[in-house]
C-alpha cells in the first residue's frame, strides 16, 4: 500500500514549488506561468460555477476585460487623479463594476432554467467586446497604453518574476478560499445545486441566492485576473476579452476537471502550453495566420465530454494518494437554539376542504384532516388515489384550487418551500433525494441550514468555524438519534435504501421541526428495516413530534399510528382509529379490488 499524504502536505509542496520556480526557470517560462496563473484564476471560478453549481458562463473573458479596462482607465485618466491613479483603486473599482454587472445578469437569468445564464453571458460577452472596440475613451481597437506597474509595500512589480509572485499569491488565496467555502454551511448549499435543488429548497436553502453567490464569486475572480493582466502587460486592447477567449476559459475548467479546484490549474496549464506551442506550429502548417488551435481544443473538449466527463484531474488524482480527512465533531459545542414544541394535543396542521384540479381531472376532492402534536397520522390509499397530490398541498409545494391548508394556524398556500421549512415543517421524499457523493454527516447538516446565519465571505475566510462546529454537532446528534452513528462519515450514496430513508429523517429532524411529513417512508424496505423505521417513529412521537405519513403499506401503518385517513379517487373514504378502519368494507374493497 502506498503511503497516504494529507491534503495539507500537498498544499505545502505546491507552495514551495511556486516559491522556488523563479529561482530556476528562465524568463520565458515565468511569463508562461504568469499566463497560466491568470487563466487558472478565471477557470477556478468556472469550476465552482460549472462543475459544482451546474451553471456556466461563456462571458468570463468579458469580466476579465472589465477588471483590466477599469484599472487601465483609473490609472491613466486624469479624471482619477484624485485617487492618485492607484492600481489598487483600479482593482476596487473593477470589482465594483463587475459585481454590478454580475448581479444584473444573474438577477434576470438565474430564475430561469440553467441554460439561460450561459446564453445571456454569450450576448453580454459580445456586446462588451464591441463596446471596448468602439468606445473612444477606452482607446477603441488600439486600446490603452501607459498603465503603471503595481506597487506592493514600496516594491514596484515591473518584472515578470515580480508580478509572478503576486499572481500566484492571488491564485493560492483563491484556491484556499474556494476550498473553505465548499466546506461550510453555504458550501453544502452550493454543492446541492447539482441535482438537489428541490431537496435543498425544502431544507430551507435559498438556491437562487446560492446560484447568485457562485456567479458573483466567479465573476470577481475573473475581474481580479484582468486587473493583474493589465498591470503585467502595461497596456490593454479588446482582443483578449472576446467571446472566444471566454469559451477557452470554460474549456480549461472542463478539460482540467470542473469538479475540483485543482482541475482549474491542470486545465489552464494544459491549454496555455498547448496554445503557445500550436500558435507557432499551425500557421506554418496552413500557410496563414489565425486561431487554428481552437480546432484542436474543440476536438479535445468533445472527446473529454464524451469519454471522461469529469476531466483530467480525477485521473491524475488517482496517482496522488491523498488521505481523506474525517471531520471532527466537537460534542461540547454549544447546542443550537431550539424551538419550543407545541403542547401535546395542540392542532399543528389542518387541511380544510382542499380540492385540487388539474384541467378536468379532480385529483383531490374536498379533503379534510387534522394533525395534532405528539400524534402520528397516516394517510393511506391505493396507488393513484391522490395521496401524493395531497401531500404536495400539505407541504406547501402545491397550492389547492380551493380550500386551504393551515400550519400552526397560518395558511401556507403559495409560500416558498423554504419559508414553510422555517415555520417548523420538515419532510422526506418518496424517491430519496440526497447528495450521493457527500457524507452522511454533510447530507444531514443541510437540514440545519436555516439554523446558521454566516454567509459566503465568512465561510471563505473561515470566520464561521464556531457556528460550523455547532451545526455539525447538531447533525451528529440527529444521526445518533436515528441510529446511523457508525455510518456518519460514509458517502450517502453507498447506504442501503432503508438507511437512506432514515438519513432523510435525520436531515429533516436537523431543521428542528414540530411536524414531520414522511412520503412513503416504508416503500421498498425489507422487513427488518421497516421495524427499525417504526421504532424510530414511535420514539419521535414519544418526544412530542407530530408526524404525518403517507403510506401504501397498511401493515406498516397498523399498530404504529394513532389515526388513519383513507383515500381513494381523490376522496376520503374512511377515517378513524386503525382497528376500525381495518374492518371497513370500503377500505377492503379499495385495497383488494372490487372486480367480481
Amino acid at each position: 500500500m502506498k503511503p497516504l499524504l494529507s491534503s495539507r502536505m500537498v498544499l505545502g509542496v505546491f507552495i514551495v514549488l511556486i516559491a522556488a520556480t523563479p529561482l530556476v526557470m528562465s524568463p520565458f517560462y515565468i511569463t508562461l506561468l504568469n499566463y497560466i496563473g491568470l487563466a487558472a484564476l478565471v477557470a477556478l471560478g468556472l469550476v465552482l460555477l460549472t462543475g459544482i453549481g451546474n451553471l456556466t458562463s461563456f462571458g468570463q473573458a468579458a469580466f476579465v476585460g472589465v477588471g483590466a479596462y477599469s484599472t487601465a482607465f483609473v490609472t491613466t485618466s486624469s479624471s482619477f487623479a484624485w485617487l492618485g491613479n492607484s492600481p489598487w483603486a483600479g482593482f476596487i473599482i473593477g470589482l465594483l463594476i463587475t459585481s454590478a454587472v454580475a448581479l444584473i445578469l444573474g438577477a434576470i437569468t438565474l430564475k430561469l432554467s440553467g441554460h439561460f445564464l450561459p446564453l445571456g453571458t454569450i450576448a453580454w460577452g459580445i456586446s462588451l467586446y464591441y463596446l471596448f472596440g468602439t468606445a473612444e475613451a477606452l482607446g477603441g481597437h488600439t486600446g490603452m497604453t501607459g498603465i503603471p506597474p503595481i506597487l506592493v509595500l514600496g516594491w514596484v512589480l515591473d518584472q515578470g518574476y515580480e508580478i509572478y509572485y503576486l499572481i500566484w499569491a492571488f491564485l493560492l488565496a483563491a484556491i484556499i478560499n474556494t476550498k473553505n467555502l465548499l466546506d461550510s454551511r453555504e458550501g453544502r448549499a452550493i454543492r446541492a445545486l447539482k441535482g438537489g435543488r428541490i431537496m435543498a429548497e425544502a431544507m430551507g436553502v435559498n438556491t437562487l441566492y446560492s446560484r447568485m453567490a457562485i456567479f458573483l464569486f466567479a465573476a470577481l475572480h475573473a475581474s481580479t485576473s484582468g486587473w493583474l493582466y493589465a498591470h503585467m502587460q502595461r497596456f490593454v486592447n479588446p482582443t483578449p476579452f472576446n467571446i472566444h477567449n471566454g469559451i477557452e476559459y470554460l474549456f480549461m475548467a472542463v478539460i482540467g476537471g470542473a469538479s475540483s479546484v485543482w482541475g482549474a490549474i491542470v486545465g489552464s496549464s494544459l491549454i496555455t502550453i498547448l496554445k503557445q506551442w500550436l500558435q507557432d506550429l499551425l500557421p506554418k502548417l496552413f500557410g496563414q495566420n489565425g486561431n487554428f488551435e481552437v480546432i484542436l481544443f474543440g476536438l479535445i473538449m468533445i472527446i473529454v465530454l464524451q469519454r471522461a466527463q469529469n476531466g483530467l484531474w480525477p485521473l491524475l488524482a488517482k496517482l496522488l494518494p491523498v488521505q481523506h480527512e474525517l471531520k471532527t465533531i466537537n460534542p461540547h459545542a454549544e447546542p443550537l437554539a431550539q424551538r419550543t414544541l407545541p403542547t401535546h394535543g395542540e392542532v399543528i396542521l389542518e387541511a380544510k376542504n382542499v380540492t385540487r384540479k388539474f384541467g378536468g381531472l379532480i385529483a383531490n376532492n374536498n379533503m379534510n384532516l387534522t394533525v395534532h402534536a405528539g400524534e402520528i397520522l397516516a394517510l393511506i390509499g391505493p396507488n393513484g388515489a391522490g395521496k401524493s397530490t395531497l401531500f404536495n398541498q400539505l407541504s406547501g409545494v402545491d397550492t389547492p384550487s380551493s380550500g386551504e391548508v393551515l400550519f400552526l394556524g397560518k395558511p401556507i398556500g403559495g409560500l416558498q418551500s423554504r419559508t414553510v421549512a422555517a415555520m417548523g415543517m420538515s419532510r422526506t421524499f418518496q424517491h430519496v433525494k440526497l447528495l450521493p457523493t457527500m457524507t452522511v454527516l454533510e447530507n444531514v447538516a443541510i437540514g440545519a441550514h436555516q439554523r446558521g446565519h454566516k454567509g459566503v465571505f465568512s465561510a471563505a475566510w473561515r470566520l464561521e468555524r464556531a457556528e460550523e462546529e455547532r451545526l455539525l454537532a447538531e447533525a451528529a446528534r440527529q444521526i445518533e438519534r436515528v441510529g446511523l452513528k457508525e455510518l456518519m462519515h460514509v458517502e450517502a450514496g453507498s447506504l442501503a435504501l432503508g438507511q437512506q430513508r432514515i438519513l432523510e429523517i435525520a436531515r429533516a429532524l436537523c431543521s428542528d421541526p414540530c411536524l414531520l411529513l414522511l412520503d412513503e417512508p416504508a416503500a421498498g424496505l425489507r422487513h427488518l428495516e421497516k421495524q427499525a423505521l417504526a421504532d424510530l417513529l414511535r420514539r419521535l412521537k414519544a418526544q412530542g413530534m407530530a408526524i404525518l405519513l403517507v403510506e401504501h403499506d397498511m401493515d406498516f401503518v397498523m399498530g404504529l399510528v394513532d389515526y388513519v385517513v383513507v383515500m381513494e379517487f381523490g376522496q376520503k373514504i374512511a377515517e378513524g382509529l386503525p382497528e376500525a378502519v381495518q374492518q371497513n368494507q370500503a377500505v377492503l374493497e379499495a385495497y383488494l379490488g372490487g372486480v367480481e
Binding site: 460549472t50 451546474n54 451553471l55 456556466t56 461563456f58 444584473i104 445578469l105 438577477a107 434576470i108 437569468t109 430564475k111 430561469l112 432554467s113 440553467g114 441554460h115 439561460f116 450561459p118 446564453l119 445571456g120 454569450i122 450576448a123 453580454w124 459580445i126 456586446s127 464591441y130 463596446l131 468602439t134 441535482g195 438537489g196 435543488r197 428541490i198 429548497e201 438556491t207 472566444h244 469559451i247 470554460l250 474549456f251 472542463v254 496552413f286 496563414q288 495566420n289 489565425g290 486561431n291 487554428f292 488551435e293 481552437v294 480546432i295 481544443f297 474543440g298 476536438l299 473538449m301 468533445i302 465530454l305 464524451q306 466527463q309
Partner: protein, 345 residues
Amino acid sequence: MDAQIALLLSQDGITNGAIYALLALALVMVFAVTRIIFIPQGEFVSYGALTMAMFQTGLVPSTIWLLVILGIVVVLLDSLALIKTKQNQKLFKLLGINLAYPLVLAGLLYLLPVKDMGMLLQTLFTLAILVPMGPMLYRLAFQPVASASVLTLLIISVAVHVMMVGLGLIFFGAEGLRTEAFSDARFEWGMLSVNGQTLWVIASFFSLITALYLFFERTIYGKALRATALNRVGARLMGIPPALSGKLTFFLAALIGALSGILIAPITTIYYDTGFIIGLKGFVAAIIGGLVSYPLAAGGAILVGLIEAFSSFWASEYKEIIVFTLIIPVLLWRSLRSHSMEDEE
C-alpha cells in the same frame, strides 16, 4: 428621417428578420427534439454563403473535403459493430451515405463546370455538400452523449462551433465574400422600392415554412419528431430511436442554416466567422420565444431585424451592442413571468 428612409430600413429589417426567423425556428426545433442549444447553426450560414461564393469564383469548395472526412470517421465508428453482427443491409446503407455519396459528389464537382451552371444548380450543389454534414455532426458529437444534461450538450455545442469557425478560416480564408444576387430586378410602388433579392428571401421564407409545416403535420416522420419533443420516453416506446430523431433534426437545421446563408450572401458580405453573429441574432429571437414557441420566435426575429436596421441608421457603430443588449430586457421579461422553480436535471 423621412418616410422613404423608414420604408427602406423596414424593408432591410424585414429581409434580415426573415432570415433570423428561419434560424430561430431551427434553433427552437433542435432544442425541442434533442435538448441541444445549437450554437453551430450560424456556421452553416457562413459555410452556405461561402461555399456558394467559391462556386461562383470557379473553385471547388473545400467544404466537400470536410464532408468526405466526416463521412469516413462515421464509417470507422459505426461499421465495426455492423460487420460483427452481420447486418449487411445497414452496412451498405452506412457506406453508401457516408462514403460513396461524398466521394461521388467530390468527383462531380471536379468534373462539372459548376461556375457556369446558374445559381439554382449552384444552390443545389451547396446544399448537397452541407446538409448531410448535419446528421454526421449529430452522430459524431452528440449521439454518444444524447442523454447528458442540457449544460453538457451546450458546452459540446460550443466546442463544435469553435471547431467549425477554425475550419472555416482554413477553407475560406480571412477575406469576406459576397455572392451575385438571385435577381437584379427592382419594383417601384409609389414611394416603396423593392429589390428582387428581398422578394427572393421573402418567397423562400414562406415556402420553407410551408414545407416544414406540411412535414410536421402530414408525414409520420414529422409526427415522430414532434412526439420526441413532447415525450421522449413515449417516443422511444414507439420505436422512434433518439438517434434517428437527432439526425433528422440536424438534417433540417443544416438545410435551414445553409439556405439562410445562400439567401443572405448577396445582401451582406460574409466572413468565415460572420455566421456566429447572424446565428446569435436568431438566438435572441428564439429566446424571445423562450426556446419553445415557434410563433413568438418568428415574431421576435422580425423585431430583431427591424431594431438592427434602425439602429444602424441612428447609431451604426453601436448596432451590434444594441441588438445583443436586447437580450437583457427579453430575459428580464421571461424571468418575471416565470414563477415556479425550473426543473432540475
